[in-house]
């Protein structure tokens, strides 16, 4: 009996193995790489390998002992200039003064003859101050939260406390809020259009229903780039909308519809509408057809029947649709890039900036994790809400 069930279990495991491997290779592993790259910290540890090994045991009080000092000197002698330069720049961004300090010390170390030891305080008396050593100690740690904090415009002070960056230093928070604002407006707009649309589609039958659903699905089968480009053509100053309005004499000059927030929200709403309509439609069409007549026979006017019966029963669909739209929207990149202005770029474009233009994979990864975290939290919230017994109307 046991042998049989063990074999069955083995066979079952074999059957799902391709799925597990696929998920591992194409989902979990890249995810881990993203996390890893955002918290790994080998720029400084790599430049000071010997120091990194020893300084962990330093108590942070008085000047480190001779062994650690010798390791630092050895690192300064051995590490190539370019590697060292990058590490020192990073250190200098944390504690100013490192650049001159390291420059002077490295010169002295290189001039040193074999067998001699270098008295660091003699080279520069700042070595007597623990804060420089502390900076090295924290910076050579293999992992850092620097990128994650920077993604939220936070940093660590000299003493290690988390504090806000200077307002001029970074704009991530602004962009995060902007991302939420755009995704939020798109979600609300999609809900306002999608709910009545889905209800209409669910209430008719035959070719009318098919036509309504096709109208939503058709854009979904078209490339995102094509759809966005279409809006680009429609919305521009010489585009159809402005030409028509001017032609009708309703406006004198073209309305600013493109390269601003309005254009981004219009285009994204159109692109994301199917994600709102389809979940609502599937929920609403599963609501028994006799509930609204029942409400009417019990004395409910159409609006009250809608409010007390149809809307509450549609909520799971509305919730699922809103969540879907919001989650997809916060990751949008192409649409804001094409029809938005400089002040409409969302978090993905910042990620693209770090990844493609500055090769700062750490920051790109940290912002990616931020997106992932927001999405996960939303998903958990949704799970909690829908487990709370929201009926599907079946």
């Amino acid at each position: 009996m046991n042998a049989v069930s063990a074999r069955q279990r083995g066979r079952a495991a074999l059957l799902i193995a391709p799925l597990v491997i696929f998920l591992g290779v194409f989902f979990l592993w890249p995810l881990w790489l993203m996390v890893d790259v955002s918290i790994r910290n080998d720029a400084i540890g790599g430049a000071f390998p010997r120091t990194a090994e020893l300084i962990g045991s330093w108590d942070g009080e008085a000047m480190p002992d001779a062994e650690i000092q010798a390791a630092l000197v050895e690192d300064l002698r051995e590490t190539p200039q370019s590697t060292l330069g990058a590490a020192v720049r990073t250190l200098n961004s944390q504690v100013s003064g490192f650049r001159t300090l390291m420059g002077r010390t490295a010169n002295a170390a290189r001039d040193l003859e074999d067998g001699q030891t270098l008295d660091l305080v003699e080279v520069d008396d700042r070595w007597a101050e623990p804060r420089f050593w502390q900076a090295i100690q924290t910076s050579v740690a293999p992992y850092t939260d620097r990128n994650l904090l920077a993604a939220l415009d936070l940093e660590r002070s000299d003493t290690g406390e988390i504090e806000r960056m200077a307002a001029s230093a970074s704009a991530n928070r602004l962009i995060i809020w902007r991302t939420f604002a755009i995704a939020g407006s798109v979600t609300v707009l999609c809900a306002l259009i999608g709910l009545p649309y889905a209800m209409l589609a669910a209430s008719v039958t035959g070719w009318k229903r098919n036509a309504l659903l096709l109208a939503v699905l058709l854009p979904l089968w078209t490339s995102l780039l094509v759809r966005t480009a279409a809006w680009f053509i429609l919305l521009q100053n010489e585009g159809i909308i402005n030409k028509t309005l001017i032609g009708l004499g309703w406006i004198d000059g073209p309305l600013p519809l493109i390269f601003n927030r309005l254009g981004v929200v219009i285009a994204m709403t159109h692109v994301l509408l199917p994600f709102m309509v389809l979940p609502i439609f599937s929920v609403v069409s599963a609501i028994p057809k006799n509930l609204m007549p029942a409400a009417a026979s019990l004395g409910a006017r159409p609006l009250r029947a809608f409010w007390r019966v149809l809307l509450p029963l549609s909520m799971p669909g509305l919730l699922a649709g809103s969540l879907l739209v919001f989650m997809v929207a916060i990751g949008y990149y192409i649409t804001p890039a094409l029809v938005g202005g400089p002040n409409d770029q969302m978090i993905s474009s910042v990620i693209a900036f770090y990844a493609l233009q500055t090769a700062n994979w750490g920051m790109a990864g940290a912002l990616g994790i931020l997106l992932l975290a927001v999405t996960t939290v939303l998903y958990l919230v949704y799970g909690r809400l829908s487990r709370g017994g929201a009926p599907t109307g079946a």
């Binding site: 028994p288 026979s297 019990l298 029947a305 029963l313």
Partner: protein, 347 residues
Amino acid sequence: MTAFIELRGVSKTFGQVTVVEGLNLEVRKGEFLSLLGPSGSGKTTILMMLAGFEGATSGDILLDGEKIDHLPPYRRGMGVVFQNYALFPHMSVAENVAFPLEMRGVPKSETRPRVKAALDRVQLGHLADRRPDQLSGGQQQRVALTRALVYEPKVILMDEPLGALDKKLREEMQLEIRELHRRLGLTIIFVTHDQSEALTMSDRIAIFDAGKIAQIGTAGEVYDHPHNRFVAEFIGETNLLDGVVKGPAAVELTNGATIVAPDHGYAAGSRVSVSIRPERLRLDGNGDNRLQATISDVVYQGDHLRLHLDAGALSLVARLERGAAERRTGESVTVSFAAADCSVFAA
């Protein structure tokens, strides 16, 4: 008869299809009327027109002498119990029952005791906080009924409300609904395709055939004196004997025998069918009419016997009480029946 609900020449067509045709129907106050008919005969459509969900294509619907055709469903004040209950799945039992009161602006302080009393009356007080999907079919049925009754509507319309219940529960609910009807003096229009349900419950039964009333009357009238072949066959079991009219009260059957039937008004020479119920056939020789027959089969049915009889070109079925003399297959017998038990109609 003063009509409380009246349908005058009501027709309903969907596209090309006429579902209800020239319907005239009067329902008295406090009456229990069943609409009985096969599936697709238009019963639900009639109910939906009464409730206001469908407009009549032509004709008038009157309630208490006033036309209500123009009133929307929520102004008609008719309680409707739907085929599969139509309870609101997102509301508790108590909220479901409170719904019609809430819609009528009854204050909360008054709603609560009324809902509680209504639920207690059907022994569901302890389930007030459950959701409908946590109840059994019978309990859901009672909630639907309570919800339709709680605001004391003038008329209750029920569309096959017991169709989804098993036999035992269905019979229990039939008695419960009859009891409610009597106690509250309700006017009930009850749709069913189950003839025994209609016979059990109704003051009168309207039997529908393809959107028209085939016959309307008390259970006894439609059972004992069917007006046409459709009713005779639809209600209960019957023997249909084809024949030709010979005189004001005489019919010659296809096996050559001539029988006496009640005065039927058909001219001599017309082809007619005579209907006689199996339990009206006797083997003791009493009755106005006699036929010679052979027993071709005897079927024991617990409380009674069914005899299959051959009388020349005619086949008959007789139902005999147990305890009568033993009968055997192949035996020759004289079948007799009273003229008054026959119904005659055009073949």
